[in-house]
Amino acid sequence: MMLTPNNNIIIGIIIALLVVASYNVDANPIEFAEGLPNLAIVVEEMLLVEPKYIPTALWAMLETIQMAFIGTIIGFVIALPLSLLSARNLNSKYVYAPVRALLAAIRTFPSILWAILFVIMVGSGPFAGVLAIIMYTIGFVAKLQYEVIETIDSDPMDAVGSIGVSKWQLIRYVVIPESASHLLSQLLYMFDYNIRQSSILGLVGAGGIGFYIINYITFFEYGKVVVFMLVVLVTVLIIDWFSVKIRDKYIIKSQHGMEVTAK
């Protein structure tokens, strides 16, 4: 970017806004520096790793993965018809507008708030977490899906639509195959995201590994906390590795029209 007088004014405005916002949120670098020794204490205690908690952490992680898996699949399946109803290129505004409003309302709550709501409804435990993940997935994935559906190539729609097929056939045979690689990509992304989400839903009593983490933090048992956090980290890395492999095999080549051999 060239440093023209206009650009300098814009940069100046951004810096001024940063200063004002920092003042408003009490952002104080001195306070931060003074707090660093506290971090050192936590890190020191974290280094006293307690490996005997690894089996417990693995079982808790398994529960978290199951929560994320169920929540992602059910959320995705519910999101698909809602996204088809929300797509402007498939429906009149009398259909897509109310469905979009419903999805926007669902997205207004972050997953942690859904978790609190479901803990109140069905009690604490992983089921509340699963319900929270389902709701969050519906709101988020349906939006991603209808944006993909609205950008698919109109030529196959025109060519097959001109045969006089039903709207259902058009969706089944053109819309879904044309957006399939994007939908698969979103499914993988959402599963990855939901694993991380499930890890923190335990903070409000909605099961999973987060339940253990918050309890050990409450009792300052950082040596145990670090075991659970490392299990989360390793799990996320493994799932990320699998996602890359699946993307290489099924998504990239179809999106770019080329053959890619999975490594």
Binding site: D153, A159, V160, S162, G164, Q169, Y173, S254
Partner: protein, 276 residues
């Protein structure tokens, strides 16, 4: 006199004189200010190979979209086999099942196979249950394979569409249209951007299918020579108006629009308009 080199002699014959497409004083526009087509009159006989040529933006593609009901005229009347091309008209909706349409970019579903793309032409013949479970009857699958053999794609049935060459993609689009068992085939610049040999292969393929199935082919082209080689009639569209309608009889080009222009005058008029 400009010589038209006839490299092929497809020997089309008019099977019936019954009019399959009639347009009378048709105007249409994409917005309220500019007309894409202005006062078009057309009359196409059943079984004809009809070409529409003109420069980019002249209204050729719009003309095709009016013929399959994807657009409706602002004014004037259109009859396709004596029926108004209106998607709300049940009779025409049924008729659409047998109007093959190949858009300029072919309209293939890129993530599915050649066979699956071809079978899309049979969708109107499926029951709701077959449609839901993607269960095409065996005779439809055999028919699709037969058509793929006809268009030279045997052995590539299971290839994904995005892996095909430009010529192969065109063959799939033709196969999908033929799978409809069409009475009318509308093709929008189906051989543009192809080398001369492949373009002639594709045109011969369509000419052959047209003779076998007695269908009416209406094809949009850029190239006058190609149009005259294959078509019984050629309409020249410039700025939304039909300025010429010609055909080849022996060695001469005949003016079907006014009936009194010589071959030389026709080519001169085409050259002037195509440079505009």
């Amino acid at each position: 006199m400009k010589q038209i080199q006839m490299t092929q002699n497809p020997s089309f014959s008019l099977i019936s004189t019954k009019k399959i497409i009639q347009m009378s004083n048709v105007w249409t526009s994409y917005d309220s200010k500019n007309f894409a087509l202005e006062g078009i009159n057309l009359s196409i006989d059943r079984g004809t190979n009809y070409a529409i040529i003109g420069q980019s933006g002249s209204g050729k593609s719009t003309l095709l979209k009016l013929m399959n009901g994807m657009m409706i005229p602002s004014k004037g009347t259109i009859k396709i086999d004596y029926t108004s091309p209106d998607m709300n008209n049940k009779k025409f909706k049924k008729m659409m099942h047998t109007i093959g349409y190949i858009p300029q970019n072919l309209g293939l579903v890129k993530n599915i196979t050649v066979l699956e793309n071809t079978l899309l032409g049979a969708l109107p013949r499926l029951t709701k249950i077959q449609s839901l479970f993607k269960k095409f009857p065996e005779h439809e699958i055999q028919e699709a394979k037969r058509i793929l053999k006809l268009v030279g794609l045997t052995g590539k049935e299971n290839r994904k569409a995005y892996l095909l060459s430009g010529g192969e993609k065109r063959r799939v689009a033709i196969a999908r249209a033929l799978m409809q068992k069409p009475t009318i085939l509308l093709a929008d610049e189906v051989v543009s951007e192809l080398d001369n040999v492949t373009a002639h292969d594709i045109m011969n393929l369509i000419a052959d299918a047209q003779k076998r199935m007695n269908l009416t082919a209406i094809m949009v082209h850029h190239d006058m020579q190609l149009a005259l080689e294959y078509a019984n009639r050629v309409a020249v569209i410039t700025k939304g108006q039909k300025i010429l309608e010609i055909g080849v009889e022996g060695e001469t080009i005949v003016d079907f629009q006014t009936g009194d222009m010589s071959t030389e005058e026709i080519m001169e008029m085409y050259d002037v308009n195509s440079k505009q």
